[in-house]
């Protein structure tokens, strides 16, 4: 019962599967004969309005939130029932057609980038909240329900769904589960994996599986933990039950200014060392402040090298006690200015700048590229300074607005995609940041996922044996490797190519030169 590994299977299944992806690579053509064959098979099982294949219909699906990577899908299917999903997956399995699932398309790693030879499975019609039980503190929802819609539905019961990615107005719970999304408050309340109790999924064979459950510690292996963050590669979600938590009675946020990024980084460690787990602990550097303040008018300190936003929530008594402790820690850590939100309106204003970092970046630059590495907190100052040095070398601006409490960086590289040289430099700049994160003991992705974007850097973070094990795990669910193929796990060939571009120690040769 020997299981084949990725190495055994490294020979590409077909030319499309081996195609290199880079932001500058041309899109692969769709094969019209195959498209007709697959679309007509799908039309036999689904209503006509659920199957799209004309270019004007499929074009809107060519990319997700990482618009540097685009590919027109062969067919788009918008199922309306679980029976539709089962039918689509069985047809695709029988015809060996790749399937890429998509929620709201807000992902930032190209995880929902379509396959030229495949079906793009849009789950947007699965948009109903099926049940909300305030006493059991659970909500059972379809995958296309928006993250924020769950909290809105729970609000009358003074409950909410804790993970709050920045895109929560638009992103869906299905996408959140695929990526194991985080957010500003996950330092205290956990990631998606900590807040999902149950997932109902359909495998490529059309089997329905219940993972986890409403009772704790479901028997068998913890496949729910494995499924969360598996980027649409193990099965298609049709229903999930999430945990709701009581809304804290009160929240207040401290805005603390620092004269250097190192001092701000040290203050982050000091807070944690003092035994405090803030509800949120975010850093915005000088460039980030200069970028968002004119746009959001949050009242940020334009003089500071970096500001921290540190939130306390709980009962009024708890918050008063904790805010006093936080202020004392920041003062000892050399804060140059401290302000505490006096009311809810001011608290929301302080957060408005942080939450509007992306639109603000869009105002000051034609394009921006958001990175997502995580590092040990103690290396924050050092890594931020290294990124500043890279700005010089790549001649591109980079603002840092990120989850400091988790050590989860979000460097925003500002560039103009219409200038091929800038696009190439932005790409290389991003690669160098991710390599640095791995070098200091961190990871290439904290919450956005690997997708297609960080697939090369997986070669740096994992050994070939480990990458092969990921393939074996995938094949336990999806033996033909049809669900979101070519994402997350780099082939042997890709790693060899990538290795050739790098010298030992993670330094890129001729870092100032564009490369593809």
């Amino acid at each position: 019962m020997d299981t084949p590994t990725a190495t055994d299977l490294d020979a590409p299944l077909d030319p499309a599967l081996a195609a290199p992806h880079s932001p500058l690579a041309p899109q692969l053509p769709v094969d019209p004969a195959r498209q007709r064959r697959v679309a007509s098979a799908l039309l036999e099982a689904l209503p006509a309005h659920c199957v799209l294949w004309r270019e004007e219909q499929t074009r809107p699906y060519e990319c997700d939130g990482l618009s540097m990577y685009r590919q027109l899908p062969m067919v788009v299917v918008l199922p309306e029932t679980e029976a539709h999903v089962i039918a689509v997956l069985r047809i695709c399995r029988d015809l060996s057609v790749p399937v890429v699932a998509r929620g709201a398309g807000t992902g930032l790693s190209g995880g929902a980038m379509p396959h030229a030879d495949g079906v793009l499975l849009g789950m947007s019609k699965f948009n109903r909240i099926l049940a909300l039980d305030p006493l059991a503190r659970t909500a059972t929802v379809q995958p296309g329900v928006r993250n924020l819609a769950i909290s809105e539905a729970a609000a009358p019961h003074a409950l909410y769904y804790a993970p709050d990615p920045s895109s929560q107005i638009a992103c869906t719970i299905g996408g959140n589960i695929a990526e194991n999304s985080g957010g500003v408050h996950c330092l205290k309340y956990g990631l998606t994996v900590h807040n999902v109790l149950r997932a109902r999924i359909v495998t490529i064979d059309g089997e329905v599986l219940e993972l986890g459950g409403l009772a704790p510690d479901a028997p068998g292996l913890d496949l729910l933990a494995l499924y969360v963050g598996s980027e649409g590669m193990l099965g298609i979600l049709t229903e999930a039950t999430v945990r709701l938590v009581p809304k804290p009675a009160l929240a207040r946020v401290i805005m603390a200014s620092f004269a250097s990024v190192e001092a701000a980084g040290d203050a982050v460690s000091a807070i944690i060392s003092a035994g405090i787990i803030p509800a949120g602990l975010e850093m915005i550097d000088r460039k980030g402040v200069a970028m968002v303040e004119p746009f959001a008018k949050a009242g940020y300190d334009l003089e500071a090298a970096a500001i921290l936003l540190c939130e306390s929530d709980g009962t009024p008594e708890e918050v008063a006690e904790e805010v006093a402790r936080m202020q004392a820690v920041f003062e000892r850590a050399g804060a140059t200015r401290l302000a505490v939100s006096r009311n809810e309106a001011e608290r929301l204003r302080f957060w408005a700048g942080r939450k509007n970092a992306f639109p603000a970046a869009g105002r000051v630059s034609p394009d921006y590229y958001c990175m997502d590495g995580t590092i040990p907190r103690k290396r924050l100052g050092e890594v931020l300074n290294a990124i500043a040095a890279m700005e010089e070398r790549y001649q591109l601006r980079c603002a840092n607005v990120f989850h400091a409490g988790d050590g989860n960086l979000h460097p925003l590289i500002l560039f103009d995609a219409n200038d091929p040289d800038e696009l190439a430099r932005a790409d290389a700049f991003g690669v160098e940041i991710l390599e640095l994160c791995v070098q200091v003991g961190g990871t290439v992705t904290g919450e956005h996922g690997v997708g297609i974007e960080k697939i090369n850097q997986m070669c740096s973070q994992f050994s070939r044996d480990e990458l092969d094990m990921f393939t074996s795990v995938k094949m336990a669910f999806d033996p033909q490797r049809l669900l979101n193929p070519e994402k997350l796990i780099p082939t042997l060939h890709r790693c060899a190519e990538y290795g050739r571009m790098r010298v030992r120690g993670g330094q890129l040769p001729f870092a100032d030169l564009p490369r593809f």
Binding site: G213, G446, M458, A476
Partner: protein, 396 residues
């Protein structure tokens, strides 16, 4: 973290080399291996069996040492054989703890065994399960390849979360050699209330309280008392005590600690051996003399919220933990009868400690498609099927 805490790397390398050799030999000869730390949870799970071949112990208890621990990172990395007590002492010195409050079930308990068993203590419903705190794992697969998954940072979505999958896998996926765990600050203050309450009223109250922003870290019911532990800032505790206690004074810290520890370690009188014929309920609180040859099995029931008291075949008393989500009974009724009653309420039942009927499966059986995937996963990590075969899913 003192350098002296580290085992010399030469010694570790030699130990790892020995483990590797044993795995390779077992895979070649088709011998079942039972990875073992302190043998404190050997009772848990199905009997390990691989045909008629003998089962070999794979000793990991010597693979010790805290590899890194920096309180400001909230991350601790330790070799699998590191004693749980050593690790908890190191954390306590820095005012931190393991959030899931794991049971030891004996002085030799190791962190590797703790992760493999996936058992959590009274804090489970407030803080999370073992898997919620696993950040990374290093393990040998069935080909004796040393693999690392996850890492030492809080947020990491690179690759599938194989490290979390190790929690509760009962050593059936690989041989854990090192784990990295998220740790948490110990609460500033604790207070425990013991409120006289009928079981049904306690279950309703637990659900109602859990929906309020109260700092409840544990909730249990036994012998007509609802026990509630509050943890957090002093001011928050005082407010919550007023809300919940309605004037009743909290238990002394000493008594409270003894009580919660007796649930975590199952030393509470409820867990005293009970023998058929079944004793009157009131006698359960005192140590019993064997009244017959048959000791009753201890069952662990896992249930969703909002499940009223259950009448279960062959059982008289119940001890409730986790606000109603975990319940314990003693019963020698057939597994199928107990499971039918529990699954009708949306839960599952584990024969936690077995004294009778060892041929029935310990865990609630899985639907066939799910079992097929789990077997394929085990096959991916352990192609020769040598790691604790049958312990999680009975061999067919």
């Amino acid at each position: 973290m003192q350098p002296s805490d580290l085992a010399p790397s030469g010694m570790t390398d030699a130990l790892l080399a020995r483990v590797r050799e044993q795995i390779l030999a077992a895979a070649t000869d088709g011998i079942a291996l039972a990875p073992t730390g302190g043998s404190t949870k050997a009772f848990y799970g199905n009997v390990v069996r691989r045909g008629a071949a003998p089962v070999q112990t794979l000793e990991l208890g010597q693979l010790q040492g805290i590899r890194s621990y920096e309180p400001s990172e909230l991350v601790l990395v330790a070799r699998a054989g590191t004693p749980l007590v050593e690790l908890e002492d190191a954390l306590a010195q820095k005012g931190q703890m393991l959030g899931f409050e794991p049971p030891h079930f004996g002085s030799g308990a190791t962190i590797g065994g703790c992760v493999a068993a996936g058992l959590a203590g009274p804090r489970r419903m407030a803080a999370g399960a073992v898997r919620d705190f696993v950040l990374g794992a290093e393990c040998f697969d069935g080909r004796a390849r040393l693999l690392r998954f996850g890492g030492q940072v809080m947020k990491n979505v690179a690759g599938y979360d194989v490290a979390r999958l190790m929690a509760g896998s009962l050593g059936t996926l690989g041989v854990i050699t090192e784990v990295s765990l998220k740790v948490v600050p110990a609460p500033a203050a604790l207070a425990t209330l013991a409120l006289p309450m009928a079981q049904a009223d306690a279950l309703l109250a637990f659900d109602r309280w859990a929906a309020l922003p109260l700092p409840i870290s544990a909730a249990a019911w036994v012998d007509g008392l609802a026990w509630v532990r509050l943890a957090g800032a002093r001011a928050a505790l005082d407010a919550a005590l007023t809300h919940l206690g309605r004037g009743q004074k909290p238990e002394t810290p000493e008594l409270a600690e003894v009580f919660w520890n007796s649930l975590r370690e199952q030393t509470h009188p409820f867990f005293t051996p009970i023998f058929a014929p079944i004793q009157p309920a009131s006698a359960a609180a005192s140590p019993l003399q064997p009244a017959g040859p048959e000791r009753l099995n201890l069952w662990r029931l896992a249930l969703p919220a909002r499940v009223a008291p259950l009448a279960l075949p062959g059982a008289t008393d119940t001890l409730i933990e986790w606000g109603g989500a975990q319940r314990w009974i003693h019963s020698n009724a057939p597994a199928s009868q107990i499971r039918a009653a529990v699954s009708a309420a949306g839960g599952h039942a584990t024969r936690f400690r077995c004294f009778n009927g060892a041929d029935e499966p310990v865990f609630s059986p899985l639907p066939a498609p799910l079992l097929a995937i789990e077997r394929r996963l085990q096959g991916a990590l352990d192609p020769a099927g040598i790691f604790n075969p049958g312990r999680l899913h009975p061999s067919t």
